[in-house]
């Protein structure tokens, strides 16, 4: 598997002049950037910069007061999260948002929900069409489980799993949606070096094998420099820089923001 040659496509998602405020607090001010197909984009910035809010806007959780969002060239009006899901956007969360009452397998199976078609009567009877569908989707889910190496915990209730594994299950669930755009909110938070390496490998594999576009929020600079194609830097709700990792790293504003020089 070569990571060197990668064909990055055209614009998949574009945000223009997004401004988001909660009461008097401005979470995002006039943010514009784009995410290109098949690329890995890192969104970085100090805490409170508005990174998660940005993802929430893309996802449809928050509605910006100003600005527009274009997905695949089509402008989106007020978006709801389940519509975003239908359109092929999947997401993980900073504080793992798994269904604590269900097992790993069931959690990932919920990711297949949009692809399941049987109606309530077929489900009530179960044998026949619904059973065939359940088996077919189970196969897909098992492939993902193999891919992320979580076979051993497939029947464990996720509430009992350690944090690192929970994050992996959440990633699996997002992958089960077969998304075009995968939004990862600090997927490596709280992990040790080994776990981070594993997660990086998975992210790269997903991007490579399935061509999934990935936007991730990440604090670890090493990870960002290593795996991302482009980086967007936010601070206090504004965009500071936007470009390939090496360029961004040398950017004076970015350095100042991280070292704490006041503007």
């Amino acid at each position: 598997m070569t990571y060197g040659e990668k064909h990055i496509g055209g614009t998949l998602l574009k945000v223009d002049n997004i401004t988001l405020a909660f009461g008097g607090v401005k979470a995002l001010t006039d943010i514009s950037f784009e995410i290109r197909e098949h690329e890995i984009l890192a969104i970085i910035g100090p805490n409170g910069a508005g990174k998660t809010s940005m993802l929430n806007v893309i996802n449809g959780f928050y509605h910006p007061q100003q600005g527009r969002i274009e997905f695949r060239g089509v402008e989106r009006k007020a978006m709801r999260p389940h519509l975003a899901a239908k359109q092929g956007i999947a997401r993980t969360f900073q504080n793992v948002a798994l269904f604590k009452g269900m097992s790993t397998l069931d959690n990932i199976m919920t990711g297949r929900i949009l692809k399941m078609k049987s109606n309530i009567f077929q489900q009530a009877i179960y044998w026949g069409a619904n059973q065939r569908e359940e088996i077919a989707h189970r196969e897909v889910v098992e492939k993902i489980i193999d891919f992320l190496e979580i076979e051993a915990i497939r029947k464990t209730p996720v509430g009992r799993l350690p944090y690192g594994l929970q994050k992996r299950v959440e990633l699996a669930r997002a992958l089960a949606m077969e998304p075009d755009l995968l939004l990862l909110d600090e997927p490596m938070a709280g992990m040790n070096v080994e776990e981070k390496e594993d997660m990086c490998r998975f992210v790269l594999d997903v991007n490579d094998e399935f061509g999934t576009t990935i936007a991730l929020i990440e604090h670890d600079m090493g990870v960002v420099m290593d795996i991302s194609d482009r980086v967007v830097v936010l601070d206090y709700g504004r965009k500071l820089a936007d470009g390939p990792p090496a360029e961004v790293r040398a950017n004076k504003d970015v350095i100042d923001a991280y070292l704490g020089v006041s503007h």
Partner: protein, 359 residues
């Protein structure tokens, strides 16, 4: 030694996802089925059948219904009584208007009508959650019972206000409703009906719709991002739940008590079914049965225990004791095993797997 999965390898996903994947479980179930179908009617007295087995089955169905809404979908409901009343009265009006209709069809239609009412009172769940939703269901409870009580149209303008359920046969010659029915016939009818409906419930719960309910229960925000529409999931939970509860209400009136009256479905009925679900286990079909059995048997146990133990306790004191024990048990279960008897059952099976070894 007996209860081992060793040697039972699942080679298909099908086998893995079966309701009873372990062979010993299937054998146990078969034995249980034989006892239930043959031994019970043959050996149990009419009294037992009428006061224990029949209400047990009716309550189990109601508990399954409430479990779907509260246990699987996480929407607290205190309106069970009101929905049972819907099922009873809808079925009554249908049975009177269409005497040719087979009683099971009447019950199913009554259930469908209740499902519609359930959806109506479930609409607020889109804006409100948790205890607030409990208020909406309380509104349903009080309003429905008031309505069935207040308007004589529901009781066909009967002068006494209490009506008896019209006698109907399930198969020619076998009456299951009304006062003429043989308890054994009623029992078997209920056994078959409730088993089929429980199977339907189990199937729904392990399919896509069940997963969407559980997702809403666990984290509705996360559910939305994977594409579940909260509106759809909650309303379907209300609909299916009310369907089951409505049929339970109709069975209560037609098969168990033989009379259709709104007073049988007041707020304490709602609490009773809620207790079954809590004690039996939230989010478990088996738990619904266990909880129903527990709540049905407890008063009988309490009223007979003093006599067996040689103590003399006055009747009212027993009633008060019942309340106290109920309350204490609820608290006990919530502390010790919030997943109820069903989880205790599971733990028991796991211990059995290891037996006679300690671990």
């Amino acid at each position: 030694m007996l209860y081992r999965e060793a040697g039972q390898f699942k080679t298909t996903y099908n086998a893995d996802q079966a309701i009873f994947p372990i062979r010993q479980d299937r054998i146990g179930l078969a034995l249980f089925g034989l006892v239930a179908v043959f031994a019970v009617p043959a050996f149990a007295s009419n009294y037992f059948l009428e006061t224990i087995f029949v209400p047990f089955l009716v309550f189990a169905l109601a508990a399954i219904g409430l479990n779907i809404l509260t246990g699987y979908c996480g929407q607290l409901s205190l309106g069970t009584g009101g929905f049972m009343a819907c099922g009873a009265f809808f079925s009554y009006k249908l049975a009177i208007a269409f005497p040719e209709l087979h009683i099971v069809i009447v019950f199913l239609l009554g259930g469908l009508g209740t499902a519609a009412v359930g959806v109506l009172f479930g609409l607020p769940s889109l804006r409100i959650k948790g205890f607030y939703l409990a208020v909406a269901t309380l509104a349903a409870q009080f309003f429905l019972v008031w309505m069935f009580n207040k308007f004589p149209w529901w009781t066909n303008y009967s002068p006494s206000g209490v009506i008896s359920a019209p006698p109907r046969d399930v198969l020619p010659g076998f009456a299951v409703t009304g006062s003429g029915g043989d308890p054994a016939v009623k029992y078997l009818f209920l056994l078959v009906l409730v088993t089929v409906l429980a199977l339907v419930a189990k199937n729904l719960v392990r399919s896509r719709i069940g997963r969407s309910w559980m997702a809403i229960r666990d984290m509705d925000i996360a559910a939305e991002i994977i594409g579940i529409r909260p509106l759809w999931a909650k309303l379907s939970a209300f609909a299916v739940s009310s369907f089951f509860i409505g049929i339970a209400g109709a069975l209560w009136a037609f098969v168990y008590t033989g009379s259709v009256e709104a007073l049988a479905f007041q707020i304490d009925r709602s609490f009773q079914v809620l207790f079954m679900v809590i004690i039996g286990g939230l989010g478990s079909i088996l738990g619904s049965f266990l909880g129903a059995a527990f709540i049905v048997l407890l008063p009988i146990f309490l009223s007979n225990a003093p006599g067996v133990l040689g103590l003399q306790i006055r009747v009212e004191v027993i009633a008060h004791l019942e309340f106290m024990i109920f309350g204490a048990l609820i608290v006990f279960f919530l502390i010790v095993e919030p997943h109820g008897l069903a989880r205790l059952w599971q733990i028991g099976k796991e211990k059995l797997r290891l037996w006679p070894f300690p671990y």
